[in-house]
Amino acid sequence: MHLSITKPGSRIAGKAVHKTRETATERILILLSRYREASIAVVAIVLIIYFQIGSRGGFLSPQFMSVVLRDTGRLGLIAVAEVMLMITGEIDLSVSGTFSIAPYIMVLMSIAWGAPLWVGATVGVAIGVLVGFINGVITVRLRVPSLITTVGTLFLLQGIVVSIYNSQPIIAPVEEPFNAIFGESLADPASSDLTLRALTAFTPFAWTVVVVAILGVVLSRTSFGLHTVATGSNIIAAREIGVRTDRIKIYNFMIAGGCAALAGLINTAQFTSADPQAGSPFLTLQAIAAAVIGGTSLIGGSGTVIGALIGAFVVATLNNGLVMVGAQATVSDIYLGAAIIAAMILSVQVDRLRTRRRK
């Protein structure tokens, strides 16, 4: 990179020279940094090939893919919610609480008052958004680090949902078209071909793709997205320029809460059961791991929602694939943990390499 100051009239000649200064390696690095999703996509493809060979062709069967994609959908929806928040430099550990409480309220409203599921679902999402708002206000206005705030709300929500109905799972009513829209398998169980129907296996995955598409556009094509990145990248500068950083953070907490509630509702519609224990904190941690594997920075300022979705696919693939190729279910977490640590080391090292190149 080179810069020159010339007189306004004489710079045309200089421009042509400077344009060619980028070397091929620099161009590849710039390309990689612009499409961070590409590198994680390569990892995902390698995993698919590995498990496909290891399982003698069983991995890419519609039956198995539908399980992986269902998990990808559930994890991905929470992961993308975390991405937006992590870009602003905050984190939400309470999403699993929201994941549990939103569908529980929906089902209770249906059973106790006969409220239609879509009404309960709307209330559930509203509760998720409200939880996000509370997290945001406590973090931003009362200056409690979000790591602490959301651990607090996590226990709070978990406590509430457990105490409502004696910690009992409730069978969720089935209402059409609600269940068709949110929870049914689109895959034809008889079909052994890998088709588009199999790929969209369960509607949860389709919903997650829709949310990823929306948030992807929001992040890269709107002022809100630009201000979200600015807030996480350099909050003092962003504030100085006039970005309302407090609001940006609170809105992103609300988006995270809403997404977590939606994920919980879909989960309940799919299993026709509202379980107070459905959202374990483990789910949140896996979602955060998926986001980071997908290229979201742990210190804020950068991240991609498509990367998070692919990251969720990688985590879901490891979870299910390891068992499939013969690892015992009890040890699959060991592999997952090792994979996460490896992904983090790689991510940090690639960042360092990029930073060094910048000098």
Partner: protein, 275 residues
């Protein structure tokens, strides 16, 4: 980068800003005593002096961070008051801070237009008009003579000098009447400084915006500034046009001692500019 001669400022240029009899204390510490400065249209004014002389306080009053205890500020003949940097900006005074206020993870053109993005409608949605911002940023940087390889590059890919130039470019995009630069050359190498000095020189050639800056290197002052105000212990002890004084004289004043009387005596030998 060669030192080029730019026609001296028109002596009849309108006064765009006047700070009169400004005093400021922080508790027992007196930062400024009865300081008056004048800034004319298109003028580049250097504030020099030792650490603690009051340069930064003066600049922070100008950019709205501090309020003077006494004294008035008038812009184009009208008294103005502001109680925050935002209000100062609304009155046409832009400040580029030492920390640069750039967003490292955003591209050059997004940094240029952050907080004043252009949008286009797409099926009723208000989406960023990136193509327009990219073109405007490129054109604008061209007119200022700032050449960077790619406006798509994220800012933290740029060098310190390039970032400083972009920060200045962004500040003057809204056509302020006054640009305040708080040590624009601090932490920059020789080559890097040359870029920023070149930009200030281009601004000076265009004579559209008046610039107040803190510089420490006397050589650089004589390269790009029209006037010097020398502060010592919160007072202006020298107010001279660079074309009518020299680096040697300035150094002689600085070396003459630390007391006000000593400096004033030395300064008396230097022809003062019109007040």
């Amino acid at each position: 980068m060669t030192i080029e001669t730019i026609a001296p400022l028109d002596p009849d240029a309108a006064v765009v800003l006047e700070m009169s009899h400004i005093s400021k204390s922080f508790g027992p510490v007196t930062a400024l005593v009865d300081v008056s400065i004048k800034l004319r249209q298109g003028e580049v004014l250097a504030l020099v002096g030792d650490n603690g002389a009051g340069k930064s306080t003066l600049i922070k009053i100008l950019s709205g961070f501090h309020h003077p205890d006494t004294g008035t500020i008038t812009a184009k003949g009208k008294p103005i008051r502001f109680s925050s940097p935002r209000e100062a900006r609304a009155q046409g005074i832009e400040t580029v801070y030492q920390d640069l206020a750039m967003i490292g993870d955003l591209s050059v053109y997004h940094n240029m237009f952050l907080g004043r993005e252009y949008h286009k409608r797409f099926f009723g949605l208000k989406l960023l008009d990136n193509a327009k911002m990219r073109d405007l940023a490129q054109t604008y940087l061209d007119t200022l003579g700032i050449s960077i390889p790619n406006v798509n590059a994220t800012v933290d890919l740029l060098s310190g000098g390039q970032r400083q130039c972009i920060a200045v470019a962004r500040s003057i995009y809204s056509s302020p009447s006054i640009l305040v630069l708080d040590e624009p050359l601090a932490a920059l190498g020789v080559r890097e400084s040359a870029h920023v000095l070149g930009l200030i020189q281009n601004l000076r050639r265009q004579r559209k915006v008046s610039v107040v800056l803190i510089v420490h290197n006397y050589n650089q002052i004589f390269e790009v500034c029209d006037r010097i105000n020398f502060l010592h212990s919160g007072e202006i002890v020298l107010d001279a046009e660079t074309s009518r004084t020299s680096e040697e004289e300035l150094i002689r004043i600085v070396k003459s001692g630390l007391g006000r009387a000593a400096i004033a005596a030395a300064a008396a030998g230097v022809e003062s500019g019109p007040t």
